[in-house]
Symmetry: C2
Subunit: 200 residues, 2 copies
Amino acid sequence: MTQAADTSMTQAKAPRADAVRNRKKILTAAGKQITVYGPDVGMDEMAAAAGVAVGTLYRHFPTKTDLVAAVVAEYLARVADDAEAALARVADGEGRALDELTAFLGRVVEQSATDRAVKAAAQTLGAALGNRADEDRAGAAVAGLIHAGQVDGDIRTDVTVNDIYLLFSTAPADLPPAARTRWLALVTPGLTAQSRPAES
Amino acid sequence: MTQAADTSMTQAKAPRADAVRNRKKILTAAGKQITVYGPDVGMDEMAAAAGVAVGTLYRHFPTKTDLVAAVVAEYLARVADDAEAALARVADGEGRALDELTAFLGRVVEQSATDRAVKAAAQTLGAALGNRADEDRAGAAVAGLIHAGQVDGDIRTDVTVNDIYLLFSTAPADLPPAARTRWLALVTPGLTAQSRPAES
DNA sequence: ATCTATCATGAACCATAGTTCACCTTGATG
DNA sequence: CATCAAGGTGAACTATGGTTCATGATAGAT
C-alpha cells in the first residue's frame, strides 16, 4: 500500500530490467525472421533467433497473432513517420507533392518487398491491429500530400487516400527489384492529372 | 499380351466409368470450395463437397498440391480461352485492341476475385504447374492484343506481356467489386499511350 | 547476504490437417 | 451370374506447430 511509483491504480509494478531487454530482442528478431521467411515461421524459429526459449515469447505475447501484430505495428509506425516526413518536406517547399508521394510509394514498395511478410501478415490480421493510431497518422499525411498535389494540378482531382491504400495493398512484395520499379512506373500514371486519350 | 486397346506400351487400361465421373465431381467441387474458402480448405471439406471420401481424392491426386494444381490448371485454361477469343475479335475487326485488352483484364480481375484462392494457390505453387501450355497460349494472345493496340497507337510502345503479368499478379482479389473496378481504372492509364505531363 | 516475486526454460501436450492402408463395393469382362 | 481387379471407404497414423506449465534462475528490495 505504500508503493508510490504507479501512475494509476490499475498499473502493474515496473517490469524487470531483463524483461524489457528480452522484449526488445524478441521484437527485433521476430521482425527479422518474419521479414525473411514470412509470417509462417514457427515460434521456435523466432525464439531461437532471439536467443530465448519459446516460453519467453509467450510471457510477452499471449499468442503468436499478438506477436506478429506487434511487429506489424512497428512497421506501420515507420511508414507513418515516413509519410509525415514527406508531407513536412512539401510544406517547407522542399519538394513537389506528386514527387514526394511517388517517392513515398516507392519506398513503401521497396520495404514491403523486404518485409514481404509483414504485408501478408497485415492482411491476415486485418482489423485485429489494436493500434489504429499509426494507421490514421499515415492516412492523414498521405491525404495532405494528395491535396497538395491536386492544388499543384499534378494529381487527378478524383484521387483519394483510399486509392493509395488500394494500390498499396496490391504492391508486388515478393518480386525482384526491377519488377517493383516497373510496377511503380505502370501505376503512377493513374494518379497524375492529364487529359484522357481521345474517345473512340 | 493380346490386349489391343492401348495406344502405347506404357499406357494403362481404360479407366472405369465411375472413376471418370468422380474425378470430374472432385475437380468441380474442389474448385468451388477453393473459390469460396481459399486454398487452405481441408481435404475433408473438399471430399465432403464432392460427396466422396478422402481416400478417393488421393486415388486421383497423389497429394493436395496436385489437386490444387489441377484446379489452377483448369482456371488457366479458361483464361487462355478468354484471351484468344478477345484476340480473335480484334482480328475480325469487331473490337479495338485496347478496349479488348482492358475488358479482358477486367474479366480476369473479376474472376480472380471469385477465384481469389486460385490466385493465392497459383503463387504458392509457383513453378510446379505442370502444364505450361495454357500459360503460353494466354501469353501469346495477350501479346497479340498488345501489339495490335500499339499499331493503333493506343498502347504505350514500351508495354510488354510481362507488364500485364505484373499487373495481373497484383490484382486485388479479396476486395469488394467497387474496389476492383476502381483499381482497374487506376491501373489502365499506365498502359495507354499519351504524352507524359510536363517535366518540372 | 537473503529472500521473493518476476521471469525464463523447454519438454510435454494438444489440435489440426495431410496422408496411408486394410478392408469393402462395384463396374466390366467372360 | 460369376469373377476379380479397379475403385471407394474412413478410421487410424503422422508430422507440424502453437500452447502450456512445473521447475529452475535472477533482478531488485530488505
